[in-house]
């Protein structure tokens, strides 16, 4: 900083906006990696950490083409079912990943625990996901559940509401399938088997 610059440090910016409504969302655009890539490690824990798992998949558009310019954020409870900062550091339960030229994302984490839901129930282990990209005027919010938690998934109210009695089975779009040593889940923004997206508010 220059000295001139520091000369104003004591004068806070005046507030200019008379209205206090919420600031609207705008698209992150095609160059989201420029501003957010510094923290996009895709890792909540180091690879090789005891208990580490990998979740990987593609982000696809309505034509089935890879979304190569997306930024994904992951937010989850720790293995004991609590969110930071209520679990021991350095766990934060947060990381980011950029999709590559093939539309692929990759997350290294520890499977979250079950945690309480309203009404004395528990939620099945899941990772919250936000998706930012060109063409998304707001973020998209979805969840990643795990195929090797059948009992917890069956008891989860969010999944139950999507399972439906009509066989629509939209919950399947949220369940990552254990495939060898990693979990696979593709995220479809649109089209047949469109992923379930949630209203985040």
């Amino acid at each position: 900083m220059s000295s001139l610059d520091q000369g104003t440090a004591s004068s806070p910016p005046t507030t200019s906006s008379p209205s206090r409504g919420a600031t609207p969302s705008q698209t992150a655009g095609p160059f989201v990696s420029l501003g957010t890539g510094w923290a996009a490690t895709g890792r909540m824990v180091d690879e090789g950490t005891s208990g580490a798992i990998v979740v990987a998949g593609l982000v696809l558009d309505g034509a089935g083409m890879p979304v190569t310019d997306a930024m994904l954020e992951f937010w989850q409870a720790g293995p004991e079912g609590r969110f930071a900062p209520e679990c021991p550091a350095p766990w934060t339960g947060f990381t980011r990943a950029l999709t590559g030229p093939d539309g692929a994302y990759r997350l290294v984490t520890i499977k979250p625990g079950r945690f309480p839901a309203p009404g004395g129930q528990t939620q099945a282990p899941h990772v919250n996901v936000s998706i930012f990209a060109r063409g998304l005027l707001q973020r998209l919010v979805t969840r990643i559940y795990f195929s090797d938690e059948p009992a917890a998934n069956m008891a989860d109210r969010v999944l139950a509401a999507l399972r439906g009695g009509d066989g629509s089975g939209r919950h399947e779009s949220l369940v990552a399938q254990l495939d060898g040593d990693l979990y696979r889940l593709d995220i479809r923004l649109q089209g047949e088997r469109e992923t379930v997206f949630f209203a985040p508010w």
Binding site: R20, A22, S25, Q26, F94, Q138, F197, W201
Partner: protein, 237 residues
């Protein structure tokens, strides 16, 4: 399927719809199915934590860190990050990214035939202070053409990414400059249907933020929350 009515756009919410015909990239990326409501799980309501060790003071000056000074009009962009009740959001991460003064991003996918500036990357970040304030030094970005429609140009803008105190408050948006005639014909700016809400994306020239003989100052306050009311309370799912 469920007794709960799926949510579409919340009436009165400031955000643009996902599906926006004027913005071509929404065509294959906007979901066609309605958004599903989520019950209010207390645990999910908290938000990511960034520590000061990850963000350095120098990260808020986009004109530094290179061999020389970037070309263009040096500016200060400052403001406050507030929650829906007007309270400061303290110690949260603010990130920005932008084109250089010629309207070119330091990014491999930007093919606009305008010069790159070897002294400008266009990426910065800071943590808000006790009063929710943030402050960046940068250069004013240029307008640039894009391929959305014939002779399409984006108004000068700076991308902002901010964290609130909860997952729900996460926001990515764009800041514009006052008096820009391109705003009237920009499909992304105009995707915000309520005029008053769209105008909250436009910064104000501020002489108290301006540093004499050095840089003009623009103020851009960011208000989180109010992204639609809580959908139907803790619903039956």
């Amino acid at each position: 399927m469920t007794s709960v009515e799926p949510l579409d756009q919340q009436p009165g919410a400031p955000d643009p719809p996902y599906d926006c015909p004027g913005y071509g990239s929404t065509r294959l990326r906007a979901p066609k199915m309605p958004l599903q409501p989520l019950p209010l799980g207390l645990a999910d309501a908290q938000g990511p934590v960034f520590g000061p060790h990850q963000v350095l003071p120098a990260d808020s000056d986009l004109t530094q860190g290179q061999p020389g000074e970037p070309l263009g009009e040096r500016i200060i962009v400052a403001g406050r990050l507030l929650d829906g009740a007007g309270r400061p959001v303290r110690h949260q991460l603010v990130e920005i990214w932008q084109a250089n003064a010629a309207g070119r991003y330091h990014h491999d996918n930007d093919r606009h035939p305008a010069p790159l500036d070897p002294n400008f990357v266009g990426s910065g970040r800071c943590l808000t202070g006790e009063d929710g304030s943030y402050r960046f030094v940068t250069v004013k970005p240029g307008a640039y053409p894009w391929q959305n429609h014939r002779n399409a140009w984006r108004p000068a803008h700076i991308h902002f990414s901010v964290f609130g105190t909860s997952f729900q408050e996460r926001l990515v948006t764009q800041m514009y400059f006052p008096g820009d005639p391109l705003l009237a014909i920009d499909p992304i700016y105009r995707s915000v249907r309520e005029r008053g809400a769209a105008e909250r994306l436009v910064s104000s020239l501020d002489m108290a933020t301006t540093v004499e003989s050095w840089a003009l100052g623009y103020v851009f306050d960011i208000v989180l929350g109010g992204r639609g009311a809580t959908p139907l309370g803790p619903v039956g799912i």
